[in-house]
Symmetry: D2
Subunit: 417 residues, 4 copies
């Protein structure tokens, strides 16, 4: 058989053609768990700020799988032994690394399930698939959970310089038009090698790494933590909280998508593990469950649910305001009062508790590079590797990557100018 | 006030920054009718073939509005008089030109409403908006319907070389990665001018126009009429037809989104015009109504609805096969028989009528440039304009633009190889 | 040794990273004959119209070598046998395919040497290199001259769909900013295969081929045969002719670069073959010989040489005017008279012969695709290949590719408006 | 007259179409002083490392002029008064800002003229042009020399965030393929405004500025101070020094371009100002004077000149090696000895002085942002502006911009591995 018949070609605007090997990888792509990612936006609520950024987690998973292939080929060219089984398993691990994601951003996760993290769900779904495929995912799961003997394979899937990040940074930069977030993915992959079982970057790649870390920082500042995105996030959390409150009082009468109903009307928790029932409902829940339900909730008799839902659908979002220091009690009290007045003007009598739907205090937190754990290592060609922050041209590069914590308040536009 | 405060800037990956004037245009953008376009994919089912192409009709509307501004500025620089009111009205007309679209492709339109075309709905919604905005859309509606005294404004909105096409060709080429479909939009806009009240293209733009016509042809061949897209289209039509059939027999028991329910469970027709009731339901219907309902229909007791829905969600699509000549009766009979056998193997006993869900005959039809009506005119600089097909360097260019009709059959993969 | 140490990486803006195998290929790249191409512009006089297009024939040679590698890898993946020696030889053939080029465009060739064509020089230099490298280029020369047993290797180097064209079309489109000339090089290479010893293109590549042929046509119309480029060409020919005339009368007193001197001051002919003396001088002659000499010729006592040179250096070029039919004798006579008057006004008394420096009649000629010889073949997957013009969706595509002959006159701006 | 007839359009691959107003600006572009920049490479010797980077200073001047226009339009939209005369003068200032450049990099300047800096020459040529154009450049010269009453106009031409840098960073990134050097020029220009007479950047542009500073740093590290470029630079300096030495002993017998001759054979100094004689020769000297002369110097009887020239032409360059600390005397002595031995092996008997042609010690020095003088100011919207390093999200950004000094040695490949 011709080698070219062994893969299927996808056309991707970010990376060009992506070759996906037929066999189990293509079968997994066609599986409902992966196809579901077509219906979950990669950037969560980012499309409300960047109208061109509607891309799905499916496109990201596909792109990461394609990039992983390039990375593995590059390592093999540098005499790293990677068996065919490992090659396939690593691609599977990156293809599936996000299947546990719920609708929109992960800040919503706890609105659905207590004691939950989407990685738990990813793993649960991987095990389900492994059963379905008679154990064919054993090695992929080991790699994903870092229990496989070659740690560099796990690092490619999940670390501070992994294929996941390389794909999503380039992809999100592309789709948002924030071209400053550009990452030289090809250059970085070409300078990777394995040293003592771990991924290192050759010295000539050091500036590309610097650029990568700073591009990541920039994408956080300009896109992922964009204040309108943060505000939309809180709005959606308020909506779900209100719906849950109404449901617990049997007052959620408006249409609610069946899968969303399950999570809104029950107290679902992952504390004791993820049951088959949870899974069955979770895999039916996509962005459209939220969007659909909101369309009807906007006509709810409950004024608060209706108001919040309308705001979301018609982009009358809250506003986020950053502050240099945490908000004081008196500032908070003042804002609460103003919020109550503003709502009153709109015909909404908000109880003290209700104000929390309209006023949120939180802080954004970004750390472009953590030099303590899972560091990036630079290979000096002399059989030695140096941790990036020490190898960098100026030790100060690393300063840029310090954790940045910024308190912010999400509020009605009229209460804080 | 600073002029720069008079517009809002959107970041678009295709055109870069788009300046949108505040005032009525921004208000319209924030209106539910326009925001709804965020939830309808520009390329319909194209994302099933091009995983990166998830962009919405909203992004297209915004892009077209930005391009229109450039086109109008260019014409003014060439001494064409355009009043501020005309300037605004033309931008409004292009912003709203697609608001009547329903979910996914327009081939679905008749699955919802008889005697319907989405342009009817666009106009109905424009009139609704005009009421809401106290007549502020009067001129925009005139321009849209070509009843305004300056026909070139209508041509910019809708003709063989309009801003709509310029945006969507470039946008779809960008998002699909089919870079051969690239159109030199800036060059074309820069060579437009008004001659005797109509849009003409300066002579130096003739090759850009040639490229535009051929790029359009190529996008039709490679994207819009991609055979997998055609096959997915027919599948979705079959699903809706089956749902409608079950509903008429009170057998559609599975969850159906409320808005979709309205259209599936009633015999809605636009024959007598578009009622307020139709509008109220239509503006709630988005891509997610279809996707949501399918998630539950896949578990229907009706084997056919369940089978078709599962196929769609998990991308086990039909296959389309083109033929050089129309299928003969005996070929059709043969295919029907094979289809019945294939379904039987899958445990589906299909009646003669039921076979139509699984077997479709149609023909694709493209015409990159119609030289009869609404032609593109080339301005020779000497106060004369020549129709494109006559001006072109070789009269044969036009040959390329002849209508191409290709019969095809959409069928189960196993019945025709 | 690591495979990655076997090649050197070049960073190219058009194709990204280019891997060049070390060994003889890299040695050839470092040879003076190839390095000389750094000092000859790929687009000849095109930079006078497209200021960004200063790229050299060296960059093109490198790009073509990189693309060739991709093409060969693709063919091997489709089970075509290509030995390591053939692989290397084909890359060498394409690397060297342009080394016989002289300064600027090939229209100048005959200003230097009679009975000459740059391909003769390419071959002569290849033989020189073959001697120097002890016969290591034997196979490359056979492939270049189509005497090798596998004709598809020659076709990759030189045919209607060769790697040479794929590189230069994409490169020239990139550097001129004429983005309509974009060619989907990756797509085309991926759809190539070998059938009965010849290159064919798989059916799914047919639209990419259509786009390629039309992009080529467009680049001819907008760039290669741009009328200002044609006019600059004729100007440079006039300059060289005048210098040669003065030299033959021992009146070329101004500085002339030594290599250029050789060709201007002697009657060099390739009729009896290319002597070592010709080669020795030719390989020293680059764009800068022309540019340098012109800098001094602009101060010549000969008014004509001075005037022509100044025009070139300061971009006071001639103008080209296309005509629908050949110029008539009376038109020509009229233009000659007007030219004489115009020159007189500038203080130049031009003899009848001298007018030929200022007035040229010629015709441009383009043929995007020749369907008679060396056709492009489309593979229909059934062990048959069809010639492109017959395979194309509409037989009319081919119309577009008809030869276009356009008479034009190059003249002083003031004599024809 | 139509406004569109008031400018000429250039097609630029980096910025797209550039509109250049007719009138004096276009006349200046066609002037020999500016046309000469077509024959001087923007990146100096960078093309030896990045084969695609052959772009000229002319393309940069044109690009900067186009960007300046965008910047001025933006400021006017923000209610900054800019008269038509100022508008034109600022564009002239940026168009001409580089006309004083000599061939290749400015490290060569002192090889030609003592006590010289190319900015002196720029100013001298501006004054010449001002005479020629009867004082029409008065205001442009004032702006260029920062003697005009509106300092923000000078800042646009020359400061730490000027149009010059914005164009060359984007351009050089584009042509080298070092895409990490990408700068979001449009975004930066859109966020500029004038505050108290100076250019400031609006708060929302802060990340774009951060990206700009770091991209600049990256371009220095990867391109401008690329070690092969540094090595080529030193080689060229050695060649000119040797030629000058031979000339002073009347031993430079090989062909030397007339203009270069002037500078090599005389002791030209700018100490007493720039004479007309110096100017007359300088404006004839372009990259091709160097390249031409080298072609003949490679055949010189002087072994050193011949060897050095051959190395340059055929890219057998020196090698640069960076060191963490300055080279010690004993290291230097050792390297000198090894160099002597290596040369001896090649048949070159080098005197102690001669070794300096083959061995250079220097240090590279980059400072991406100087926060002391001419700082970048961020406008906080409240009528206050804060210096960038204080405004930045983390004060540590600025750490990155500290001066980086790296000692290096340029040497024969064989003497230091």
């Amino acid at each position: 058989m011709e080698k070219s018949h062994l893969y299927k070609i996808f056309s991707d605007p970010v990376h060009g053609f992506i070759n996906i090997p037929k066999g189990i990888i293509l079968k997994l792509i066609d599986h409902p768990y992966v196809q579901r990612l077509r219906r979950i936006r990669q950037l969560g609520l980012g499309y409300l700020v960047f109208p061109g950024a509607e891309h799905s987690r499916f496109a990201h998973a596909l792109g990461a799988t394609g990039l992983m292939q390039k990375a593995l080929v590059n390592l093999k060219e540098k005499n790293t032994t990677i068996t065919n089984a490992e090659y396939e398993a690593t691609m599977i691990a990156v293809l599936l690394h996000d299947i546990g994601h719920g609708p929109f951003s992960h800040s919503l996760e706890h609105s659905f399930i207590k004691d939950f993290h989407h990685e738990k769900m990813t793993l649960a779904l991987m095990h389900k698939l492994n059963e379905e495929f008679d154990g064919a995912l054993d090695m992929a799961i080991k790699i994903f959970t870092n229990q496989y003997a070659k740690p560099f394979l796990h690092q490619l899937v999940s670390s501070q310089l992994d294929i996941d990040r390389l794909d999503y940074l380039k992809r999100d930069s592309w789709y948002t038009g924030v071209s400053e977030g550009f990452v030289g993915v090809d250059r970085i992959i070409k300078t990777m090698r394995v040293h003592k079982g771990h991924i290192v970057v050759e010295k000539k790649g050091i500036y590309a790494i610097e650029n990568y870390i700073l591009a990541r920082r920039l994408m956080y500042m300009q896109v992922y933590l964009h204040k309108t995105v943060l505000a939309a996030d809180k709005l959606l959390m308020s909506i779900l909280k209100r719906a849950r409150y109404l449901a617990s009082n049997n007052q959620l009468e408006e249409f609610t998508s069946p899968a969303l109903s399950y999570f809104v009307k029950h107290d679902v928790s992952a504390f004791k593990g993820i049951s088959d029932e949870i899974i069955a409902n979770y895999v039916l829940m996509e962005d459209n469950d939220i969007l659909m339900s909101l369309k009807y909730w906007q006509f709810s008799n409950d004024k608060i649910l209706a108001d919040l839902s309308k705001r979301f659908l018609n982009r009358q979002l809250f506003r986020a305001t950053f502050s240099k220091k945490p908000f004081t009690d008196s500032e908070i009290a003042d804002l609460r009062e103003k919020t109550a007045v503003a709502l009153h003007k709109r015909g909404i009598q908000a109880s003290d508790d209700d104000l929390n739907y309209y006023l949120h205090f939180d802080s954004s937190n970004t750390e472009a590079y953590k030099y303590k754990s899972e560091s990036i290592w630079i290979f000096d060609g002399d059989d030695k590797a140096v941790e990036f922050s020490k190898a960098a041209d100026t030790k100060n590069v690393i300063a840029l990557t310090k954790q940045v914590v910024k308190p912010y308040c999400v509020h009605l536009k009229e209460v804080l100018v």
